[in-house]
């Protein structure tokens, strides 16, 4: 009969209206700045650089190999390696800029990095007043300690740390096994 469909629909909205007062499954919204939905561990938004020690710039894991710069699809990474006085390339970045206005959070830089030096951050309240300088992050802003990484991605960080310590132990073992003859040749770490 005409009207039954309409009445059924009205019943559903009434049910939802009442339900939104007591049923958390129905009232799912959260008032954002006061409350926040917990961020899942895998959440990613923009990359940051992991450093090991107290001095953020000196202890960066990054060796300025430029793999991420090459692989980055939107090409938002810009790296210049440090050089010593003689012009020899050092294994650390002098400039490491990420334009997060361009970055599309694809995580490819993280996946291709052989040194586990770049990881995805979870800090998303990064609105800036200036879209050029404000969103162009330099290595000072990008550098974050390993403890921070362990905090935001605990599972992943544990795996990475285990792998890195294993690798270091292996390197040390190889070094001692090879004995003194030649100064230790840098063994390239295995690809991730």
């Amino acid at each position: 009969m005409l009207g039954t469909g309409i009445i059924k629909g009205l019943a559903v909205t009434a049910k939802n209206f009442v339900g939104s007062f007591y049923d958390p499954a129905r009232l799912v919204t959260v008032e954002y700045p006061e409350k926040q939905i917990p961020i899942p561990e895998n959440y990613r938004n923009f990359p940051f650089l992991v450093h090991e020690g107290d001095d953020p710039i000196a202890t960066l894991r990054c060796v300025a190999c430029k793999i991420c710069e090459n692989e980055c699809p939107p090409q938002c990474i810009y790296i210049v390696a440090e050089r010593d006085e003689k012009g020899k390339v050092l294994k650390k970045p002098k400039i490491f800029d990420i334009d997060i206005a361009v970055c599309m959070s694809c995580q490819i830089c993280v996946e291709v990095c052989p040194f586990d030096a770049i990881k995805m951050d979870q800090h998303f309240e990064i609105a800036a007043g200036n879209r050029f300088e404000g969103l162009l992050l330099h290595r000072e802003q990008l550098a974050k300690p390993n403890s921070y990484y362990q905090k935001i991605h605990p599972t992943e960080a544990a795996e990475v740390d285990a792998m890195l310590t294993a690798m270091k132990a292996r390197q040390a073992a190889e070094k001692s096994a090879k004995a003194k003859p030649a100064p230790a040749t840098q063994t390239p770490p295995p690809a991730a």
Binding site: M1, L2, G3, I6, G9, L10, V12, T13, A14, N16, F17, G19, S20, F21, R26, L27, V28, T29, E31
Partner: protein, 409 residues
């Protein structure tokens, strides 16, 4: 009217007493205009506030029906962090609307573009004059009040047309054309649904119609028109037509957002837009107020022992519940198409209203039937309602049905 003793309680008389007190300060010759101005001022203040909080109520209700809290963040100026459940939202909206830039398209008809929002509010406000809000609260008690109401209501569409035409925008123009078609279609069922009430009450005066619905001493069911078979149908038709007259969902075609951007409102911004918005709510208030007056007993309390509550509160409760029902409908239903809208009016509501006229005639002729004949009376009246509803409804929805589907496996 059989007035029980407690009808003249202090609260009941309060508005009139305040008016008389203020008028008392003026010389005799000025009392009439001052009284009229007071009535106008009171109405503007009360309905202005009602409008403000209805917008909030609508947003809250829609929000809750859509599983979200609705506006709840606006607090007080200078008190950061106060929230007050968003109760100050209407005032924040008002400030926003007043300070927004008023944009008039260069090609627009400037005079009409300006006049349209003014007129639409004016006509909507004019309808308030004849609605009896309480036992003694009616601004103008005229003999042909119901007719006046519909005359003033009909004129609002003219203003909507002006808005659509003056904007020099194709969406606006289509919206205006739709508004006209909608008005012409729905004026008829609206009036026809009222005719039985006028017929049986024997008057066009809203106050007298309310008095005709006064409680019968000892009666259990309120003696309202809606509790008679013809009254129920008339009320249903009235509400559907009122939705169309007020341009509310599912009949919001003139401003049909998904098709016409905003219809006749497309080129309006700032305060002019706010005036249109206000007129829409005033239209709702007026139509539901008239609906309550005609069918729900106006300011009458449902039973005698509840009459200690002032009559204007009863009226407010009835009107608000009708408005909330309109909002509930808006939260649920989707929009009709223009041809379906007119078809619904001409092929469904008008025939039903005409048949309802016959039902009302039958009901009034058989007023003396009692005892077992009372059941016969109800049975015949219900048959007169249900059979046409089913038959015409089936014709209206011919060919429309949920379908079953086959599967390729």
């Amino acid at each position: 009217m059989n007035a029980p003793a407690n009808t003249n309680s202090l609260l009941e008389r309060a508005p009139v007493m305040i008016r008389d007190w203020i008028i008392g300060f003026f010389p005799e010759s000025l009392r009439w205009p001052v009284g009229a101005l007071l009535a106008i001022a009171a109405m503007l203040a009360v309905f202005g506030l009602v409008f403000a909080f209805l917008t909030l109520a609508e947003r809250k209700l829609l929000g809750r029906a859509q599983n979200r809290p609705g506006p709840n963040r606006s607090g007080l100026p200078f008190f950061r962090g106060t929230k007050l459940f968003g109760l100050t939202q209407p005032f924040a909206d008002a400030v926003k609307m007043l300070t927004k830039e008023d944009i008039v398209p260069r090609a627009a008809d400037h005079l009409l573009h300006f006049l349209a929002p003014v007129l639409v509010v004016a006509f909507a406000l004019m309808t308030f004059a004849v609605i009896p809000y309480g036992r003694q609260l009616v601004a103008v008690d005229i003999d042909a009040g119901v007719l006046y109401f519909f005359a003033a209501g009909a004129a609002t569409e003219l203003a909507i047309f002006m808005a659509g035409w003056a904007s020099h925008n194709k969406y606006s123009l289509i919206g205006a054309m739709r508004a006209l078609a909608q008005l012409i279609s729905y004026e008829l069922p609206l009036l026809l649904s009222v005719v039985p009430v006028v017929m049986l009450a024997g008057t066009l005066s809203p106050t007298k119609i309310v008095e005709a619905q006064a409680n019968v001493p000892g009666g259990l069911i309120p003696h309202w028109h809606v509790f008679t078979p013809w009254g129920a149908v008339g009320f249903a038709i009235f509400m559907v037509a009122a939705l169309a007259e007020a341009n509310r969902s599912p009949f919001d075609l003139p401003e049909g957002e998904s098709e016409l951007v905003a219809g006749h409102l497309t080129e309006y911004s700032g305060f002019k837009y706010a005036l249109f918005f206000m007129a829409e709510y005033f239209g709702m208030i007026g139509l539901t107020g008239m609906g309550a007056t005609l069918f729900l007993g106006g300011w009458q309390a449902p039973c005698a022992f509840l009459e200690f509550i002032p009559s204007y509160l009863w009226f407010g409760v009835k009107m608000l519940s009708l408005i909330l029902f309109m909002m509930w409908i808006r939260a649920t239903l989707l929009r009709l198409r223009i041809d379906q809208l007119t078809r619904l009016a001409w092929k469904f509501l008008v025939p039903l209203a005409l048949i309802n006229l016959g039902t009302a005639a039958f009901w009034s002729r058989t007023d003396s039937w009692s005892g077992p004949l009372q059941f016969v009376r109800w049975a015949i009246a219900l048959a007169l309602i249900v059979v046409p509803f089913v038959v015409i409804g089936r014709r209206l929805t011919a060919g429309l049905a949920p379908r079953t589907y086959r599967y390729a496996t």
